[in-house]
Symmetry: C2
Amino acid sequence: MSPRRIQTRDLLISLNRGDGARLGRQLEEQLREGIRTGRLAADQQLPSTRMLAQDLGISRGVVVRAYAQLAAEGYLLVTQGANPRVGLVSSAEALAGAGRRERKRGWRFDLRPERPDLTRFPRREWSRSLREAVRTASTAELGYIDRRGLLQVQEAIAAYLRRARGVDVDAEHVLVTAGSTHALTLVARTLLREGQKTLGFENPSNLVLHTLVRRTGLEPVGIPVDEDGLVADALASVDTRSVLVSPAHQFPLGGALTVERRIRLLDWAERIDGIVIEDDYDAEFRYDRVPIGALQGLAPERVVYIGSTSKTLAPGLRLGWAVLPTRLVDPVSSELGASTLHQPAIEQLAFADFLCRGEFDRHLRRMRASYRRRRDHVIDRLNHELPPLRIRGIAAGLHLVVELGGETEEETAERQATAAGIAIDTLSKHALPGYTGPRGLLIGFGATPEPTIPRAIHALAQAVPASP
Amino acid sequence: MSPRRIQTRDLLISLNRGDGARLGRQLEEQLREGIRTGRLAADQQLPSTRMLAQDLGISRGVVVRAYAQLAAEGYLLVTQGANPRVGLVSSAEALAGAGRRERKRGWRFDLRPERPDLTRFPRREWSRSLREAVRTASTAELGYIDRRGLLQVQEAIAAYLRRARGVDVDAEHVLVTAGSTHALTLVARTLLREGQKTLGFENPSNLVLHTLVRRTGLEPVGIPVDEDGLVADALASVDTRSVLVSPAHQFPLGGALTVERRIRLLDWAERIDGIVIEDDYDAEFRYDRVPIGALQGLAPERVVYIGSTSKTLAPGLRLGWAVLPTRLVDPVSSELGASTLHQPAIEQLAFADFLCRGEFDRHLRRMRASYRRRRDHVIDRLNHELPPLRIRGIAAGLHLVVELGGETEEETAERQATAAGIAIDTLSKHALPGYTGPRGLLIGFGATPEPTIPRAIHALAQAVPASP
């Protein structure tokens, strides 16, 4: 027997009787807790479903389901014909944001990036727009509508993007989606249908997007990023005809793509008849100067522009958009139509109302000021609590980067922070194969109220004493 | 030159100058109008994009785009290397409901099936539930939530389905979707990932579902239907391990699957370890007796149950569900998570509130009585206005079937009705290859207000004088 094999008794499972669903939940929670706390270590083998069911005196189906659930969350690794093994907790945490039921984790502080402050969601104003939408929707708008969205909603989004982001767009090129990730998967599927095999990604870039794109069937390929953003000249040596970029605020490093790089990137796309996908995920929150205009404005027939209300309002709304080059309007809209038919009409109308009343701009102004204060506060506390650090990516968005010496230091820091109950993200987590750039921690401040910041950064400094 | 080739001058295109987009729209509209009015007949060849662009003195891109748009709508048939041909208008009309912007068609009467009365949408009650949802949503519920849906919403849907439809379900097996079609495409993609190649369909069955499933990569295979519903014994000779059925109210023929057939169908699924997908699309509207319980209740681990609020409330809500066998909960939810992440939280909460307040049941009771009166009225007028007819499928739902002698009679009747400005659907439209069953017209009464029914049926009788 392998020394890494755990016996049932060592799992310390203790079940109160109940029906299958209840037993399953108890089993699941106790296993998850064991893995999360590190009592069950990565790579250890669990008993087979048959053996565990027998030892616990419960039906095998209950065990199968609990294992499947934990595998889906990344807590277990399941391979055909072998007993399941304990996975790396960090990967489970990373994926949690992309799907599974959030369970109480008991984090003392949540410093993960990309989390807006949902306590500030403008409930009264949104409710008012919903009421207006229900009141004024025509009966045709309550029926099956155009898969691209309602025309007046496309128009309102186009007007906003022209004005606020310099996007070159009319209503007919807007597709209303369930968010940026939805938009991205629709575009990825379209590229796949056209025969493409790969999609270029900045390296590093958002882990969740790698996973979603890989699942469509396109293979992500990393392209280096430096201080000026994506190294556009590196595209020539990569086997891809499309690339996803975050020009206004590179995720996760935080830089902006320079004008020269923008031109080189678009030249590349023009030369090979390629497509650039611009993920404008949090460009509304820019602190150093006037927001950087969208890349799309320079080449509307080469760039797919995607954005959403997930950082500006709330991810729960599932409301976003793609601005498509003419030749992609029909194929990408068809991808959407072939699954959800179209986005819900009432929420579309509510968002158009919210935009037209100026509520969206008002909310953005308020939140921009608030996030800016949080950012300043975080930088101030970091400088105060920790030895001199290289801090990057402070000009925009909801997170910044604290550089660390290398992969080992990063791993140590992450482990120490996690052990101290601080949820944190690392650069390495978002790396694709071949990554040689900086290592460090991502410190999100979107979800941390200002008064909490000193305590959170103090706790971090205590947990990660020797980080620089 | 083929006699079916149309010259540019015969297209009667007249463009006002403008930018490309404007020119494209004019071109598109004039071609569409020509096809819709029958001036351009089915199968005629249009000029090539190059020739038309040259003749009209516009850029070729504008023509390419207009042709692509019309092809997407079904007005044109485009084949590689050949000039585009004019498509059948009727197929364009059929697909319109599944996607493109509805344009004014000037129908005098709309007797298409599957259209609920949207003038009766309970705006006040829905608005109230939305307000409650916005007011009471936790901040966690405004963030990224579980891809399966919010637990309390899954619970409310499960309770409704247990009570009203006899579905054997707990909350953990419910997936909240953007409607039945969304649920179906997620299941189809999952089956495809499992290595399946085909999906059995009742023959005839809903054309739109054939199209959506084919697009996922699964090939629809028709299985005969008779008076007792799907001929379950025919499954043995078909190369498929899964089948989509509408047991409570077969679409479009209107029968219910007998108990004996239900058992044979589930036996087949058990024997080959297969999956039955139950589309319970309008079972709430049953007029002859207590609603027929869901097939799912007999074998919850063999049946995927799908339903939505599209017939009961409004398609525009994009709100539906799948009840999944345990082994499919994770894979199908992952398909959803991998594209839209999850369904919007506010609308989920609103629907749970709407259910819990009893508003949904109240609305169903009202509408059931109203649709029953419409049905009686339609039958009465048909018997009065037309020679003796075989009328089928009257016990439930939002449409009935008037049988006609054969395909020729059906085609003639459809053409006559269409020419008289009556939108109508035929059985043949929903047939898959190998169909040998009855032919006839589908007469939907969901969207036709009661006072209009006599005029609509009178107009139909005038237009289709010799139909029986």
